[in-house]
Amino acid sequence: MRDLSLHLMDIAGNSLSAGANLIRISLEYKKELLSFKISDNGKGMEKELLDKVINPFTTSRTTRKVGMGIPLLKNSAEITGGSFSIKSEPNVGTDVEANFVTDSIDRIPVGDIDETMKALILSNTSVDFELKFINGKKEYELKTLDVKNYLNGVPIQNTEVINWIGENISGGLKEIFGGVLDEISG
């Protein structure tokens, strides 16, 4: 995976196949660490499966949640000197957290979070997404439920709405991380 936005697309795919209808995504800059979290309210996993998902070689093809996606994200975080954790409870949901060392030469760039969110929202209109960017006191938040309520009858997959969401997100990225993360200009 070339950047974080592609990991996001991939891990959110797990949440979707776990039947989640609310997916919370956050990206927080804490000086030396960049923390990336995805939480969902999907069907969750039993401990036995949870222990297996971080190992690509115990993959069971009948269980779609298991595969290369999670080990790849874990590796992306750990090669920077960062950390990875996954917590899950059956019938409650799953939380994935990856912490990247901000200044590590091996840290993959954040990438086009806006493109990923547009694709996720477009093809999963009944799922609600909450996206947060945090840097100290500066915060950006977008909740698709707020957008849907505002639109009141106009579908969220409307082209202009989706493009507005994309621009909103890239504006938020710039405002919160511009000049702080090397790949995002201020």
Partner: protein, 122 residues
């Protein structure tokens, strides 16, 4: 930063257009979006489908995502499923190929044979 209030103008315009929407003969484009697909470049393919359809104002096509169909070496892949349920599987896609599929197949009804799985896996 953009505010939700900007959506008001979009909303009013959309409400006027909504009656023009044609839901007959829905065609589905299903793009593989598992780890294998994403790593091979499925996101730009999916976005190319969506953008090209919007640019040409095509309303009877839904672009959706699916998981891994088991042929990871042929990713990015997409199925075009017409109103009768007939399926065409395209493989090794990129954004340019997606645009051609929109024009030739989705608009003019002529599948792009050379991009299909049958042609690639001979």
């Amino acid at each position: 930063m953009k505010s939700l209030a900007e959506l008001e103008a979009i909303r009013e315009k959309a409400l006027k257009d909504i009656n023009l929407r044609d839901n007959a003969d829905k065609i589905r484009v299903v793009v593989g979006m598992a780890t294998c697909g994403i790593a091979a470049g499925a996101r730009p393919v999916m976005n190319a489908f969506v953008e090209e359809l919007n640019k040409r104002n095509i309303k009877n096509v839904n672009v959706l995502m699916t998981g891994c169909v088991g042929a990871c070496r042929l990713e990015p892949m997409a199925d075009v499923i017409n109103a009768k349920g007939e399926k065409t599987t395209y493989v090794n896609l990129d954004a340019e190929k997606a645009k051609r599929i929109v024009v030739d197949h989705l608009i003019n009804g002529k599948p792009v044979i050379e991009y299909t799985i049958g042609e690639t896996e001979k």
